[in-house]
């Protein structure tokens, strides 16, 4: 069976689990993954939460949807997770203290991956906190030489999450046509 993946990242509480759940064909699995760091010469074990969903494309093909652990100290997991992935969905919580700083942090953390693939940014909870505005995010991200789609999203709405994924796919290939058309 062919397996591919899309990575959902962002700070804790940005809606990664909810967004994956909105488009997954299975209930999102919240996994306790065990990460090991051997560099210190001794085994150190840390438990992190990893979200996992699936989109079945056919009997022999599926897309894995991975939600990264939000905690910064687990960022070594991000590189492992993103290896071979199709693209990155970054979710930001507009009610956090400095969501623009979150944007810069995650873009920087995934910069190599973004340069090889594409990025789509979803901003959640804009109904609770309208600022920063979407235009502010565009300004911030333009400063680092990127021009991704940035949408206001309700992570509970499959339409919103679906549009974000569509934007990611069309960014990868604007000439794309749905397989059944």
């Amino acid at each position: 069976m062919e397996q591919h993946k899309i990575i959902f990242t962002g700070p804790v509480g940005a809606g990664k689990t909810t967004a994956i759940n909105a488009i997954s064909d299975i209930p999102t699995v919240r996994t306790d993954a065990t990460a090991t760091d051997m560099t210190a010469g001794r085994k150190r074990v840390t438990t992190v939460a990893l979200d996992f969903g699936v989109m079945n494309l056919g009997p022999d093909e599926r897309i894995h949807l991975y939600g990264t652990p939000g905690q910064e100290r687990f960022d070594f997991m991000w590189e492992i997770l993103s290896k071979g992935a199709i693209g990155l969905v970054l979710l930001l919580d507009n009610t956090r203290a400095d969501p623009s700083a979150d944007l810069r942090f995650f873009v920087q953390a995934f910069r190599g991956f973004i340069d090889r693939t594409e990025l789509a940014v979803g901003v959640t909870r804009m109904d609770l906190s309208p600022k920063p505005r979407i235009a502010d995010y565009h300004s911030a991200i333009r400063g680092v030489g990127l021009k991704p789609p940035v949408f206001a999203v309700d992570a509970r709405e499959s339409r919103d999450v679906g549009l974000l994924i569509q934007a990611l796919l069309y960014s990868l290939d604007p000439g794309l046509v749905a397989a059944d058309e």
Partner: protein, 393 residues
Amino acid sequence: MTTMSKPLRVTALGLDKRSRSALEMILKGPGKGACVLTDVAESEAAIVDMDRPEASMLWENYHRHYPERPGIALSAQDSCPEGTRLQPKPVSINALLASLRAVAEELAGPEAATAETGKAAGAQLESKVVSTRGATQVLEDRAVRRYVSALPESLPEDYRQLSDPASRAKLFFVPTDYIGGHLLEAIREAVARGEARIIHLRVGAITVDPAAHRTWCALTDTRLKQVCMVRAHSGDGEALDLRIEGQARGAAVEAPPGGGAGLDLDAFVWKVAVWVSRGRAPEGTDLQEPVLLRHWPNLTRLLMTPSVMRVAAIWAKQHRSPVETATLLRIPLSHVLTFYAAARATGLLVEARRQKDELFSPPDIDRHRQRGLLSRMLAKILGATQGSDQKGT
């Protein structure tokens, strides 16, 4: 239909005696009396047989006097006039009743009160209707796709020299020929001056607050769309009593009673521009001039139009003219022009001024090495969110 107790009142335009009798039988029988035929003055909507010689004149006259009243156009053709929904011939009873139900639903509920309440200072605003996604959005998406797709799909070679007004009107529009164009101009000026505006129409008021980047609109989307498409230069603007009230810079803007949080200004401007454009570009547009997007539009909160994602994706990265874009993406030019008009109205477009005599054309769209996989994913996503948008892209 509208309600069990209050039947929808419909007038029949251009129907001969026999057709009218048949229609009455349908409404009383299968329609179960939820809709009745009435005269023009008392009607809430009209059914017009567009294949009759006098039909266009009858509808235009009706629409001019009652721009807020919707119509159902029975026709063997693929197109229908502004303000109507097409009911293709041969007309099945179920399809006709479904169209009448849809018209009744448009007229029912909050918007039914709008025309009256809009006259009063304390207009009951319907920001929830305007800003609601979901079912309303889906209906709008489909409606936009229907009328945009009906426009010409290719560009005449001599489009710059088109002198025939009818041919030219298929490609270009003069914004100020429409009430919607005047709305856009009033908003543009309000934003440029940083001053709030209250735009009064006989059917309701629109408050624009550039500082908060919000609008409050007393009209439902259905009614607003109808108003936007009304021609302004033939006296209809006066009939709609368009009046703009300015407020001094920095003056506090009172959200109209019941107006809630209102609607994002860009989302409002975008949809008005889409409705005025209907697949055409503003007069004066060079269709072969490359353009670029400053950034992606916030498409989860905007009225979706056909192929919007694909045009946004290409213009976010590449300087392309509307004509080039339609060719590269193999989509109707009208899809591109609708996007062009909305993006321009919201200030997202940058004219790239690429040298037209460049030795080399820009590269084609990069084909992703996993295009097959991405296509299957796209089909899956479109299927999962079916009806929301984009199936036509």
